[in-house]
């Protein structure tokens, strides 16, 4: 598996570490309650197919990346810097429509 870092180019996956689903880009408010925090911290869509996730380029430029990857095939569909990425894929779609 090779990941194309927007800053460094295509690199061996050994340079990166996996954080998890990209929902960690945003988080619930302090008042949101147990259920919202449970959704955020523990529950996962865990899709078999394309998924958005956070990777860290620790042995490279140290950027946080949002990688869209197919969990069935390990194919990497797109990579963007986390600082440029919308908090959720849904917002991404809405952004594209707007």
């Amino acid at each position: 598996m090779r990941i194309a870092c927007p800053l460094c180019g295509e690199r061996d996956s050994r340079e990166f570490s996996y954080k998890g689903a990209a929902l960690a880009l945003g988080y619930p408010s302090e008042e949101a309650g147990f259920e919202a925090w449970d959704d955020y911290l523990h529950k996962r869509d865990n899709p078999a197919g394309p998924t958005r996730e956070l990777w860290y380029h620790g042995s490279g430029c140290t950027a946080w990346l949002v990688v869209t990857r197919n969990t069935m095939t390990h194919e990497i569909l797109s990579v963007e810097l986390a600082e440029d990425a919308p908090e959720s894929a849904q917002e991404n779609t809405q952004g594209a429509n707007a």
Binding site: Y18, G20, F34, D38, L41, R44, N46, A48, E53, T71
Partner: protein, 417 residues
């Protein structure tokens, strides 16, 4: 048909013409008292114990592929009861006791081999931790013995005992641990369930779960709709997709775990050996292949195969522990899909839907749990109450933070176990 030495002799003398299939291949009936989604080790043992312990025989196991084609055929076959945490400890202790009587119970040769497990340690601190764990195992009623370095050298002469970074100081010896033939475990439970009237329905993928007013009514499948009063989801790595059909999101992320086997060698490793410092463990199969594995690839995956960096890491650890392994060729590698829970322990519980039960989150330790998982899941589905040795494994423990089952004390979030 019962298996016995006499039967083997008779069949041998008469051309082996009297053997019959181990289980039927029935078409699904329109309705069952209970349906188990998933014909893996846990699903089959659930069906077996529902029939045997609770007299429920009008039940079906729905398997989207074939019996034995999932994780029960993709593991490293290790059986043990060396857990320390209240809850896990009782559960795995119960499981090992079931393993010990399993072959007689099933009338099936599962090649259960209590060859002993040795967890190596390499420092004084690790020795203390091993002694503590040994005491916990003994307190639980299981066996544990602390071996000094001379004894480990005698038992495992082919390891590198004098590695400068990881010299072997000794080992924690769990004599009743060992291995079992994974396929035979699936086949034995399948045959036992089938003999008690359970329908094992293969090539039958569940495509929907029917729920009315918060009560489960049955499932939709690729072989038609099937009604049932009770449905158990026992699908390991695929738990997320099946639960989604019931409108649930689970605290589970599916990861790939790889394992490897070498060509057949003469006997050189008599026990199951774990090398924690290298995240590597190994045993020798009856065919002579060294079966070994390591850590997760550490990214979400359903691919049933991993990538090269983890392979390289595991091979390096194997070379570090046992340099002569470098002469052996690796025949095969494979990956299984692990249902990773945030705290590293499994989940067995009712859901918010009446009659719908969930069994998931086995992380990388599902095989040794096969008998007790089915035993307790059957109890839960039949009585509506958790079995006492699995009562702590609640689905809601993450939301409330009460009763987390963090065996490794590494935290209760994804990607930590």
């Amino acid at each position: 048909m019962r298996f016995s030495a006499l039967r083997v002799l008779k069949e041998g003398l008469t051309g082996n013409k009297g053997w019959t299939p181990h289980w039927r291949d029935p078409a699904p009936k329109p309705e069952y008292d209970a349906i188990i989604i998933g014909g893996g080790g846990h699903g089959l043992s659930t069906a077996y114990y529902l029939a045997k312990n609770h007299g429920m025989t009008n039940i079906a196991v729905l398997e989207k592929g074939y019996i034995g084609g999932g994780n029960v055929g993709r593991n490293t076959t290790i059986v043990r009861a060396n857990y320390g945490l209240e809850g896990n400890s009782q559960f795995y202790s119960h499981s090992l006791k079931l393993w010990e009587g399993l072959e007689q119970d099933l009338n099936y040769n599962a090649m259960m081999s209590q060859r002993g497990i040795i967890n190596l340690f390499h420092s004084d601190g690790q020795r203390d931790a091993a002694a503590r764990r040994a005491n916990m195992m003994i307190s639980q009623g299981d066996d544990a013995e602390l071996l000094d370095k001379h004894t480990v050298r005698k038992l495992l002469p082919n390891l590198n005992h004098d590695n400068i970074r990881f010299p072997i100081y000794g080992g924690l010896y769990h004599k009743r641990g060992g291995t079992a033939r994974h396929d035979a475990v699936a086949w034995g439970f399948a045959r036992g369930a089938d003999q008690r009237g359970v329908d094992l329905i293969q090539n039958c993928e569940v495509t929907g779960i029917d729920i009315e007013n918060g009560v489960v009514k049955g499932v939709q499948t690729t072989r038609g709709a099937i009604k049932a009063k009770k449905v158990g989801m026992v699908v390991a790595g695929r738990s997320g997709q099946v639960a989604a059909m019931a409108g649930m999101r689970l605290p589970v992320e599916s990861h790939v775990l790889q394992a490897f086997v070498t060509e057949g060698l003469k006997p050189c490793v008599d026990h199951v050996v774990t090398f924690g410092m290298g995240h590597m463990y190994m045993s020798q199969s009856d065919k002579g292949g060294l079966v070994f594995g390591g850590d997760l690839d550490f990214y979400a995956s359903y691919a049933q195969r991993g990538n090269l960096p983890t392979k390289e890491h595991v091979m390096e650890a194997a070379m570090c522990l046992m340099p002569q392994i470098g002469k052996a060729r690796v025949l095969r590698s494979w990956g299984g899909i692990m249902d990773m829970s945030p705290d590293g322990s499994f989940i067995m519980d009712k859901t918010q839907v009446d009659g719908l039960f969930v069994n998931t989150g086995w992380c990388y330790g599902g095989f040794k749990a096969v008998p007790a998982s089915g035993y307790c899941m059957a109890h839960l589905m039949a009585t509506g109450q958790p079995h006492e040795v699995a009562a702590r494994h609640r689905l809601d423990r993450f939301e409330t933070g009460r009763g987390l089952m963090d065996e490794e004390a590494s935290g209760s979030q994804h990607n930590l176990h």
